[in-house]
Symmetry: C2
Subunit: 291 residues, 2 copies
């Protein structure tokens, strides 16, 4: 299956960002993409760098102009489209939500980010209430998609639960990068850690993993930090964690990658981790800590 990914540098002009995504989706579809995956919160700058109530004006209802826009792009191009929005669920209640549109423009499903980070420059707990839909893959015409979001790269449980519910692929729309005061060595370690832990999910679950990150520098309006240089480096790994594609660290990238979903079953036969799970001994995983 041909998968398209869009690694983009965003501007403050949401309409412009959207138009570029639409155009790239058309190009990918014309080359044969069946599934197109966007980065996290792809319509806007990464507003979570600062805590400001007015930024909540960026949130959108489902449905709304924004969601209809992507529904139309999916219908027009005939691809399954993974999008990521700042969801306004109720007045003052917001989520970081991935919406997946079927190739006919219908909403195949949504995933509300379950694990919410909060660090300097990533003040997501201020904006997003944790998701309440659980870890449910979204069924589409191209397979069951285990959509997770960014920070959940660190949650082995999230990936596993998607796999146990039949996900055929893990997908991470992402916005992650480096802060300017970190040493180059530390920046490199963090990028490599981000890649490695997600490749690990591929191996442990015998599934392809697709991570699509934004790219480029965005300043911190509050001046608290030096801003984020999003590190791009979007990648696709096969079910043994092997690289099928790596995007550049410092430039936009629109790319088509061929992923063989059938390979997962062969890999899982070779390394049948799912067969040997000790479910009798895993109850502690639902504890905060075991003192």
């Amino acid at each position: 299956m041909l998968i398209g990914i869009i690694q983009q540098q965003n501007t403050a002009d949401a309409d412009y960002n959207r138009r570029r995504i639409a155009q790239k989706t058309r190009e990918l579809a014309a080359k044969g993409a069946k599934l197109v995956i966007n980065q996290e919160l792809h319509d806007t700058p990464y507003f979570c760098q600062t805590e400001a109530v007015d930024k909540c004006d960026l949130a959108v209802d489902i449905p709304s102009y924004t969601t209809e826009f992507y529904s139309q792009v999916a219908r027009e191009t005939g691809v399954v489209l993974v999008t990521s929005i700042f969801e306004r669920r109720a007045p003052g209640l917001y989520h970081n939500t991935a919406l997946v549109y079927e190739s006919d423009g219908s909403l195949a499903g949504k995933y509300r980010k379950m694990h919410i980070p909060d660090d300097p420059a990533y003040y997501e707990k201020f904006y997003f209430t944790p998701g309440d839909l659980g870890f449910e893959p979204i069924s589409t015409s191209v397979g069951k998609l285990g959509v997770l979001v960014c920070w959940e790269h660190g949650s082995q449980a999230a990936g596993r639960l998607m796999a146990l519910r039949g996900a055929e692929m893990l997908i991470y729309p992402t916005a992650i990068g480096t802060e300017s005061t970190d040493t180059p060595e530390e920046q490199a370690r963090q990028l490599e850690a981000w890649v490695t832990v997600q490749r690990g999910h591929a191996v442990a679950n015998g599934l392809p993993v697709v991570a699509v990150n934004r790219v480029g520098y965005e300043p911190d309006e509050s001046g608290v930090t030096g801003g984020i240089t999003f590190w791009g480096s979007s990648f696709v790994a096969g079910p043994q964690g092997e690289f099928l594609f790596r995007a550049p660290v410092d430039s936009e990238c629109t790319e088509l990658i061929d992923v063989d979903l059938k390979r997962s079953e062969q890999v899982r036969r070779w390394w049948p981790f799912l067969r040997d799970r000790r479910i009798d001994a895993y109850a502690g995983l639902t504890k905060r800590f075991i003192d």
Copy 2:
């Protein structure tokens, strides 16, 4: 803390293998090692390549000549020693067991392999009944050691449970390699997958990971397969999955690696995955599959 690892090619002579391990442990201790880690089932060839009841004669009681030997090595050298034995628990009842000796020669604790593989050339389900001690770190004078064994490299749950119980490091005595009929590309993918998934455990848990593998070719006495070429490649990763050391793929290796256990807390502050776990939504992890 200085950690010693012993990646060894074994012979059919258990006494000879043991003497070499003892000598290498003395050398590592003389250089300052506080903890020395051995590969899986380090006294013998990897007998699980064939299913033969007579191989059960290799199993040893606790205590026995073998266990006293390693107790004595620990006491003599003053190191904490991680060993791996074929445990005879009762007539006809065997485990694949890691024993950890304190630096005074006392038994600090044991871990009975919980996840048992079974594949051509790795017929462990024939020999070893699954462990019944759970995922409990072993407390020692050098820290709480999360000892797991080989095939458990694929169990994210095992590593996580060790971390939730306070393990300060994950340790994998291992015997894994390639079968001669696999293509070189497939062999490379498997080795890389083995390394990557364990580095992933380091990242997800913010802990160092030490994997110590055997090395060299051992024939399959049954003639069913072409035998195993154990791929060595023992490694130590820091809490961001960064390599601190990688051993060669095709030769023995006795090495001292400096691991800063204090770094884990800093790394977990940067990427506080433990803070954000959605324990309300993890119950499915104790299910075999969720249809």
